[in-house]
Symmetry: C2
Subunit: 457 residues, 2 copies
């Protein structure tokens, strides 16, 4: 039985209880400490204030690397280093769109990540407004020849963020529009909100041809639909961008060394890169903060848990790449990675915890529901299907994953837009997440559970 | 007793009831009709779609005049015309701000209306961040020599919008900053929201010197405060603008002629001009729509009320001028204007009606609470102190005023910003306002009440 000096007295009084009682007491103490701990907030505040938006290829992205290394070291992590990999950078230039006629107005737009630019003088053409992506897919080849296609399909607000899947498909539809003769592709922002700030995001879908692609502010997409209902509308679109094919990215790694089985590793983290219009507070300074703060609280315990906790601050989530790079670099230690989880759904309250198949029934997690109940978090009886983009490679390679399900009701109001700032981070909810991660992480890292073995089955 | 053919049967059955029973039935019928009437929504939709932002001096402002005249005529108003007055136009140019160091970031800003421009190369200087306007006023002359002053005082959210008064004072503080040696004046947007879109608004306060003045996005003001807490911060501000001293403005007027006393006039309206970042949906297409729709419903009655209803779509609210121009042009008919009211607080639900002193107790309004109760609107027992900027001149000249108090909880999240679009207009609330205005307006216009005489006292 591993005991903690802090809780020695209590443990002495409970020598007759099952062997995990000390762990559960520590997990509960971590939970309570997390709720009042400033680490997570300080990380979000620092990353958004001192670095700000940090897309790959920007000077801020390099500053974020230095920030992360310094921060992890200052928090006492060991083996802190950057793992570099090549990642071409798409760099945004000046962008504008306006209705030329019959009702001249400027529009709020933002180029979608990786879009090709327009010619310098822009593209001026009549628009066709489609109320759904299905209308685009149903149109015959060449149907929109010489036009700018506007897809104005709203995103559905859901607590679990599941409306995003359908919406992302639309964002990637430029190839479908090009196949039907479109000169450019505009979408209603992938957003559940009403603010005018448009939402960017990467495109990389298959297409027969590349045409410029941008997102309209939600009100702007509706505006074009209202105009188009009156008759023909002409629009002028200008998108400038460049690509640096030799750009580099990096995953930043730091560890809390395990006390008994340091060779067994639990990998957690959030992603360090962000889109450019906001300061990347909920996407994903929050995930960086939640996981780093949880590991920091554990790092401060008088005795570390048995296994090593490795925090990886992923360097290329928004444009993909972290996951593959990590898998390639760590293929020979895959067997040592006993569990992995990512935090990348903002800072709003955690609702449930999803453990690998069978783990919830393992003795080590028998009292986890009791630890999480005061946080109003339940242990779900189904394992996560998807744990996060950056651990997708690990997951596919057989590493067991867990997830903390959050309230994503507000997340898509802000993410990838100028409104993703510290102003939309709720400190209490942020810390509630840290509490969940810290207690869960401690139990997992201090256990002997073999998550690959479907332990409770 | 005036009767309506629509309600003739009902009225015949009620010949014994007091003389206002027919009016109250008509008012109730107008109320119910308003809730399902498309006029108000169509006006907001049309003005934001076909005209969009319409600051004085812009081509859209001229298009708005033509739109308003055509729309009032199409709705059956008579004596529709524009009353032109001179109004110098301040015209926005390119604007930007960025932190130069130590944490380079672009900032979201918007120039305050009427600000002087910066030199073309901008102003680069260290900032001082003040958490309240009182700190600025308490500083000695010259205290901020060579600095850009940032006032980061949040606005208080209130249901009645009363937090705006204190905030507007801050917006006008550039003279106080200049007196203390500041090179430029930046304020936290006068906003109750968290979105990054900055909020503009006119400045015209007294000052010893003119320095450039702009509003930061709410998150940007906090960001600068967080940076400044770490040490010196340098900022670069560029504001371009021009002034057209020979620009013209116009109040658009149209009438529903009174059936018995057409020389007695009830003046109502909203303002046609708007700020430029949004489409001026809640500020003030909504007011234009609410008052025009209410008058239109009355105009469609088989018999008009006794008095004339005059809808005035004010042409220069945001920069002032409508009120004085109207007073100057109508000084010789002030005695004929029996009552005036303005709608300029967005489209959210009406909560109470404020009548001129004593009017609520006049027999003509005895059953008004019964008409408004189903709308969850009460008749307040205090007259309005302020009925709206555009009728301030009339009010000061002794014209009795009324007001419809609305829920302004959300209004200052959006007004004067890019987020003021059709997306934030709730159609049901908009129509609830029309219902209040239509029923109240009918009772006032069909009455003999002399509002100047404190009738119920």
């Amino acid at each position: 039985m591993r005991t903690l000096s802090l809780f020695a007295l209590a443990v002495v009084a409970c020598l007759a209880v099952p062997s995990d009682a000390g762990d559960l007491r520590t997990a509960s103490a971590l939970r309570d400490r997390a709720l009042g701990d400033p680490t997570a907030w300080n990380i979000v505040e620092s990353l958004t204030t001192e670095i700000g938006p940090r897309p790959i290829g920007s000077p801020a992205y390099s500053r974020a690397r230095d920030w992360a290394i310094a921060r992890l070291k200052a928090l006492g992590f060991v083996n802190v280093h950057a793992e570099v990999f090549p990642k071409p950078a798409w760099i945004r230039g000046a962008e504008s769109a306006e209705v030329v006629g019959p009702f001249p107005q400027k529009l709020a737009i933002i180029g979608l990540g990786n879009t090709v630019p327009t010619p310098p003088q822009g593209i001026e053409a009549p628009i066709v407004v489609l109320k759904s992506y299905a209308e685009l897919l149903a149109a015959r080849p060449g149907a929109f020849k010489g036009r700018i296609v506007v897809v104005n399909q709203p995103m559905t607000r859901t607590e679990d963020g599941s409306g995003y899947g359908a919406a992302v498909q639309i964002r990637n539809g430029y190839g479908e529009a090009a196949r039907r003769g479109a000169l450019a592709y505009l979408i209603r922002s992938v957003s559940t909100g009403a603010p005018r700030s448009p939402h960017t995001g990467a495109i990389w879908g298959p297409g027969t041809g590349k045409i410029p692609a941008a997102a309209l502010g939600v009100p702007d997409a509706d505006l074009l639909q209202h105009m188009a209902a009156r008759g023909p509308v002409r629009l002028r679109l200008k998108l400038a961008s460049s690509v640096n094919p030799k750009s580099l990215a990096w995953n930043i790694s730091g560890e809390v060394t395990g006390s008994a089985r340091p060779d067994q590793i639990v990998v957690i983290g959030g992603h360090l890169d962000s889109w450019d219009p906001g300061t990347g507070a909920i996407d994903d300074a929050a995930g960086v903060a939640i996981t780093t703060a949880a590991a920091t609280l554990i790092n401060r315990l008088p005795q570390h848990p048995r296994r090593t906790i490795r925090v990886v601050l992923w360097g290329s989530e928004e444009n993909g790449g972290s996951s593959d790079a990590y898998l390639a670099a760590h293929r020979n230690e895959l067997g040592k990675i006993v569990l992995a989880g990512e935090s990348d759904l903002g800072s709003d309250r955690a609702i449930h915890v999803d453990l690998p198949d069978g783990a919830a029934k393992a003795p080590a997690f028998a009292l986890l529901p009791a630890v999480l109940a005061p946080l109003k978090v339940f242990v779900a009886d189904t394992p996560p299907r998807h744990g996060g983009s950056d651990i997708e490679g690990l997951q596919k390679a057989g590493v067991p994953i867990f997830a903390v399900g959050q309230d994503a009701s507000r997340y898509f109001d802000y993410h990838h837009s100028a409104d993703d700032t510290l102003a939309v981070v709720d400190r209490a909810s942020l810390n509630q997440n840290v509490a969940v991660w810290a207690s869960l992480l401690y139990l997992a890292a201090d256990s002997n559970v073999d998550f690959r073995a479907k332990p409770g089955k």
